[in-house]
Amino acid sequence: MNFLDLIWLIPLFPLCGAVLMLLFGRLLDPQPPSTVAAAPGVEHTHDEHDHGHSHEHGHTHSHTHEHAHDHTHDHEHDHAHGHTHHRGSPLKVLISLLCPGMVLISFLLSAGAVLQLSNSPVKVHEVVQFRWLAGLPFHMMDGRLATFSADWGFLLDPLSAVMILVVTGIGFLIHVYSVGYMAHDNGFYRFFGYLNLFVFFMLMLVLANNYALLFVGWEGVGLCSYLLIGFYFQKKSAGDAGKKAFIVNRVGDAGFIMGMLLMFSLLGTVRFVSVNQALRGGQFHAETAGFGVLSAIAVLFFIGATGKSAQFPLYVWLPDAMEGPTPVSALIHAATMVTAGVYMVARSSALYQLTPSASTVVAAVGAFTAILAATIALVQNDIKRVLAYSTISQLGYMFLALGVGAYWVAVFHLFTHAFFKALLFLCSGSVIHSLGGEQDMRHMGALKDKIPITHWTMWVGSVAIAGIPGFAGFFSKDEILWQTYSSPSGSKVLWIIGLVTAGLTAFYMWRLMNMTFYGKSRVKPEVAAHIHESPPSMTVPLVTLAAGGVFAGWVGAPKLWNLPESFRGFEHWLEPAFRSAAIEASEQGAHDASTEWILMAVSVAVAIIGITVARYFYHHKPHIPDTLEKSLRPLHNLLYNKYYVDEAYDFFFVNGLGKGGGRALGAFDRNIIDGAVNGAGWLTRFSSRVSMWWDTWIVDGAVRFGSFTVKLLSYPVCILQTGRVQAYALAVIVGVLLFFGYFVAGK
């Protein structure tokens, strides 16, 4: 079977799953109407010990569902409602086989295609199905005539190969996990429909062979993100978070569209292969000095990436996205969707290589976001929120790597991060699940022995993200720091920021671990009785991902270690995609072995210091953080309130630009537009009055004066005309007599 020509099938399977679920899912998994409409919490009055996602999410799931893993208090569940569809229902089993199955098929197809790609000498494989967009011709920048067109085509090259494996592989594990996690939820079918739809759009995004089709996936994952964040839409905060994510992403999308159109009007194509050919063909020179069209395109693309990949200043949606169910946080907001921006920038590497100034912007924003988010994560108490800020921070690392020209390192970090961040999120979901919906770390502690699998897998994830040698995060993070230090477009300042962030990362992750798993239990007593390990459908993905968290890094071991070439496969694999960049970067790194050893030692030391300090603070001397918090109250408040960025956005954009702008527009409408209309009305009335006055006094006056004059002059004659016949007769006779008199007497 030639999998390479079948890559168009890869996104098709999840689409089938999504269509089936969203059209017919309701039939398979009927919803109890009463619980949908019921107010959150109402149903718990008679069922205090219900396993409560509902406490956490505020949604109302049917508590008649049996907790298969929680037999100890099954008797407490109220069976009186008599809902027949519970976890064992064959129809629900069908959903939980079908949807993950679709993703599994995609994964197998992807694996087959990637395997064949690795054996083929040509590393770029394109499958074009049909002409999808065919617009009208228009003039490009240089005056040539071009038609805006885009194919419905798929491109498999080393870069998209990595992406589809991550999306389908990790996507599949998260689907399996969701079967267990969402078992008690209403809208089981809806959740899986959205999840499959998301995988479809993400695969479209990474498999597209042009920017226009990439944009379809880009918007599609935005849509799914909105749907899944707002999954518990009965809760206002969840709906608001969904809208926030959608709107914030829209800001970035505007940049992306403008960049795409600008690129088209410059190059006449949006097809990746043609774009790269044109940009690498030598007709464009690097914009080393100044800021030209290419830099503008690069910056616009980066604005798009800041929206999707949660970079400053558009990162604000991601922490709020934690309103969605935890598997969503893991799949979308850690492992795949947020990497879309990284992927897109890496895909445009040919462009960024020509635009050092734009790359500097990317690196600076990445570094700034990394340290900003890491400092916020230091003081958050919500377990998922810590991980959300950690995600933002790690994405900042990726952009730092992109900005300094180390594209393969960025993709490498994306790859390892996908494993350990999905793992961490799923572990936190497992913790939350076992505590019945508790997310606040101040009410956790000493869970180590109660949920051992979750603990050990999360331990692996934390070690990996902290950057301890041997685990996945170390390889990619160390490589980023090294490239930042050594690359010609990197700098010492950026390296120091990255290093500090690495220390902070280690610290907050161990703060999380200590507050959650070690020390004294601060779990609420009514919750403590029901702590239990999660079902196998949840723990198996955890263990699998943990294995990934350990081994995923070994495909990109440092050159320094002099390991066999197979341990450095990742860079070579991606070389065709980034060609000149990879060569340039590796040449730079080759000649400075002692510095690299020192830097590696420094970054590991920083990580260990972070871990030790966190362990000391939160395990041995738990009063120190409190003392620090009290003595540094303003700083703590600043961090705890996330630098008041949300408030600032509320003030400037929501209230300022939104409401204030609305008010200003209203005033403009009332005063200027209505004023113009009213003024025109007034002017008409005024001129009509003038006209009327003119008519009455001047025109009519002239006419009446004429008639008056005639009347006046005719008055003497008028008095003769009396109307009396005899008077006339007299006049006639007198006249005749006068005539006679004149002629008789005159003769």
Partner: protein, 102 residues
């Protein structure tokens, strides 16, 4: 006994004309005015007939017959107008009918 000469006829005719004219000018009743007009016309007739006899020419007498015919028609029309007037204005006095003015 004096023979009746043309001068006598003319004197009579002049007297009738004078009476008729004064009647037309001074009397208010339209019936009287119409009668006065008849007097004037008859004064003319006498004049015509007198000269016809004096000149031995019948033209004058024929003309007189025309005048009589004309007077009849005129009296008929005049009285018709008078009746119509009386129906509308309830008056036969000439000075009360003075609408035909500016």
């Amino acid at each position: 006994m004096y023979p009746i000469t043309t001068a006598h006829y003319i004197a009579l005719s002049a007297a009738l004309l004078l009476i008729g004219t004064v009647g037309v000018l001074t009397r208010r009743n339209i019936v009287i005015i119409l009668m006065s007009i008849e007097l004037i016309l008859n004064a003319v007739n006498i004049n015509l007939v007198a000269f016809s006899q004096a000149l031995h020419n019948l033209d004058g007498q024929i003309f007189a017959i025309f005048v009589i015919t004309d007077a009849v028609a005129e009296a008929a029309v005049g009285l018709g107008i008078l009746i119509a007037l009386f129906r509308n204005k309830e008056t036969v006095l000439a000075d009360e009918v003075d609408l035909l003015k500016w």
